[in-house]
């Protein structure tokens, strides 16, 4: 099993034998038993013959356990935590679909900011704002107002610039 305790991940193995547990963690293997008293839990370390009472808060994906002067925040490691989407940023403006160029908002050599609308393309009754995905400078404009364009045509070339 893989969990995170106080933000550090750790690995262990746990076997259940009747009402007792056998925990293998790091180099040792120890037997335990758990009893519940109301909202408190008593955990017995059978080998050491020591017992400790723990207080617990349970949330959906997280459990907080207090044991004497220690506090443990235990979370399951979710798989999607390691996933992140990688997006390749396209600098240039291409037509996402066929349509008619309604408006070109910049001229060559103009500076554009990320999110600026560069071209408005009308297609299937909808005015689509094609935005720059980078900060940069308009290098070349391949179309003019009123032009009919096909899908994935290069419309405007943008040279990305830092800041």
């Amino acid at each position: 099993m893989n969990i995170k305790v106080n933000n550090e991940s750790l690995e262990y193995e746990l076997l259940r034998k009747g009402d007792s547990y056998l925990l293998s963690y790091q180099d040792s293997s120890l037997p335990f038993q758990v009893f519940r008293y109301g909202n408190d839990y008593l955990v017995l370390n059978i080998e050491d013959n020591t017992a400790i009472v723990l207080d617990v808060y349970k949330a959906k994906n997280k459990i907080v356990i207090w044991a004497e002067d220690e506090e443990f925040i235990i979370e399951e490691i979710s798989e999607n935590e390691t996933l992140s989407s990688h997006e390749v940023i396209e600098n240039n403006i291409k037509s996402p679909m066929p349509g008619i160029i309604k408006e070109i908002k910049f001229m060559e050599n103009d500076i554009v900011k990320k999110g600026d609308t560069v071209v408005v393309l009308e297609s299937m009754k909808v005015l689509n704002e094609l935005k720059s995905s980078v900060n940069g400078c308009i290098k070349k404009i391949y179309i003019e107002k009123g032009a009919q364009v096909g899908p994935l045509e290069l419309l405007v070339e943008i040279e990305p610039k830092e800041d």
């Binding site: 959906k60 989407s85 997006e87 996402p96 679909m97 066929p98 999110g115 297609s123 299937m124 009754k125 909808v126 005015l127 689509n128 704002e129 096909g150 899908p151």
Partner: protein
């Protein structure tokens, strides 16, 4: 889950302009709704009061649990129809909680032509029963009706989903274990008599309610027997002699209390156990939706901005965010419940269709309800796409949403044109609920295009007759066509005809969805069995 980062600048001029526009639009709609909710003319209310009877809406308020919601169905029905004689279609329907159970309430409005059934009344009654049947809801009928509206009997009596269908539905629902209860607060004549008669448990009010197959005038005409309503089919007769009714109440209040008791003693239904976590409000204020929706629907807006203002904590786990980007699909929570959301960000391409079909499959296998946010002008056309097989990809999607097992709820937030309406779970695809936003439009194609097509036919005809038309003359022909078309594609026109279940305030969408979701869970979600996907 990932939080949606909003790009809306609430201080921009555009935002303020749109906000004002939509706010005004909502106010107009609310005003119409309030007006319709008043029911029949002032005079009819006076007569009703004189007889010591409650207005149907008062009855509903008294019968549902205190401090609980009432999810009204079809509050705009009948608007600008029948010379506005039948506001709300003369019947009030909706879901309310009675003694802790969700119940479909169907209440005749006796102030509207004595509660008689217009064609729209029938349609609304059947719609309410359909919702009850699809979502496993018990039914309460507050009967106060003079039967069919005779002048229009041909439009209310003979067909499949006409008057007769009521009783069939009642019998089927009773067999499903859905309790059918009637409180008779007025007349139940002829066909109207069968509404209570077909119920599992019936309550009548002394000296006020009567049930008979033929009323006193008909009896006199047929047999010569002279008898008054109370002695022919009054509460005493039916609870003591005939056994048509089960409980006798001294007045309406007592009758409604009795109905609450009946529901209190009903065993609780097991709801479908949909994955749920603690509900959280959206991070962004739903009120901001007003400032996002453009006045002109041909201007696009990012549906994620809407999702951010509807779902819990504005968290949205997007599925295939980089593929088929004109369609937005993903998982979110509403009121803590896990849902799949499909929203439009432009026209539909083959990729977006495949993505949609894939996502619907995911939700169907996992048994996650689907929410559709419609703003769609249609499928892409042109040689490239026909050759690519747009039609078969569209078919995959339609197969998926038709045969899915999970509840679907549809909100038309913008355009609903052409086949886009089908793919996005329009009325024909049996979504459990379908609502529209005030500025939404529904039609087979956009108004400009339609007006072009329609006027070109007319112009061609005139040209054949040898007439040469000036630009102004052409415009004079086109303009009224456009106007009429626009009116007929408006939300109000649609809602008046029950093409949807009501026009809703965009900022309250979240509450509508929360209530509706919980209603749908009364029905267990079965395992899915899809049809053939054209490959």
């Amino acid at each position: 889950m990932a939080k949606i980062m909003s790009n809306i600048n609430t201080n921009s001029e555009e935002f303020k302009k749109r906000y004002e526009f939509n706010k005004k639009k909502v106010e107009e709609i609310n005003q119409i709704r309030e007006e319709l909710a008043k029911g029949g003319p002032e005079k009819a209310h006076e007569v009703n009061k004189k007889r010591g009877k409650l207005f149907c809406r008062e009855r509903i308020e008294k019968v549902i649990d205190k401090n609980s919601p009432f999810l009204e169905i079809g509050p705009f029905v009948g608007y600008n129809m029948y010379n506005n004689e039948a506001p709300c279609g003369g019947i009030v329907t909706g879901i309310g909680k009675i003694s802790g159970k969700e119940v479909m309430i169907i209440a005749n409005d006796q102030t509207v032509k004595a509660g008689t059934y217009y064609p729209m009344t029938i349609k609304k009654h059947v719609r309410a029963q359909t919702i009850a049947r699809e979502n496993n809801l018990h039914c309460l009928y507050l009967v106060d009706s003079g039967g069919v509206f005779l002048p229009m009997q041909d439009e209310v009596y003979p067909d499949k989903e006409h008057f007769g269908n009521f009783f069939y539905n009642q019998a089927i629902m009773s067999s499903m274990g859905l309790l059918q209860v009637a409180v008779v607060t007025g007349l139940g004549t002829a066909g109207g008599a069968y509404v209570p008669a077909m119920c599992d448990q019936v309550i009548m009010v002394k000296n006020q309610s009567a049930i008979f197959i033929g009323g006193p005038p008909l009896v006199k005409a047929a047999t010569g027997e002279e008898i008054d309503a109370e002695n022919l089919g009054g509460a005493d007769v039916h609870t003591r002699i005939s056994g048509v009714a089960d409980y006798l109440a001294n007045n309406e209040e007592e009758a409604l209390k009795k109905a609450r008791e009946i529901f209190a003693h009903l065993p609780k239904q097991e709801k479908f156990k949909l994955d749920r976590s603690t509900p959280q409000d959206p991070l962004y204020d739903p009120d901001e939706i007003y400032g996002i929706l453009p006045e002109d629907l041909s201007i696009p807006f990012d549906v994620r901005e809407i999702i951010a203002r509807i779902v819990d904590n504005s968290e949205f786990e997007e599925f295939k965010p980089l593929y088929g980007q004109t369609l937005v699909t993903g998982f979110a929570r509403i009121g803590g419940y896990l849902v799949g959301i499909i929203g439009n960000n432009g026209i539909i391409f083959p990729e977006s269709s495949q993505k949609a079909a894939h996502f619907v499959e995911l939700c169907s296998l996992r048994k996650v309800p689907l929410i559709f946010l419609q703003n769609i002008t249609g499928f892409i056309i042109g040689k490239k796409y026909e050759h690519q097989g747009m039609a078969k990809d569209g078919a995959k999607w339609i197969t998926a949403i038709s045969t899915t097992n999970v509840p679907k709820i549809t909100i038309i937030i913008g355009n609903s044109y052409g086949a886009g309406n089908y793919a996005m779970a329009g009325r024909g695809y049996n979504p459990r609920f379908l609502w529209m936003w005030p500025n939404a439009k529904i039609a087979v194609m956009g108004p400009q295009q339609a007006a072009d097509v329609l006027s070109s036919i007319k112009l061609a005809q005139l040209e054949r007759e040898g007439k040469k038309l000036t630009q102004e003359e052409i415009e004079a022909i086109r303009k009224p066509i456009l106007q009429e078309y626009e009116e007929k594609s408006s939300a109000l026109y649609s809602s008046a005809r029950l093409w949807d279940d009501g026009i809703i305030d965009p900022k309250k969408t979240r509450e509508y969805l929360m209530l509706a979701l919980e209603v749908t869970l009364n029905k267990q979600i079965e395992d899915v069995k899809f049809g053939i996907f054209r490959m």
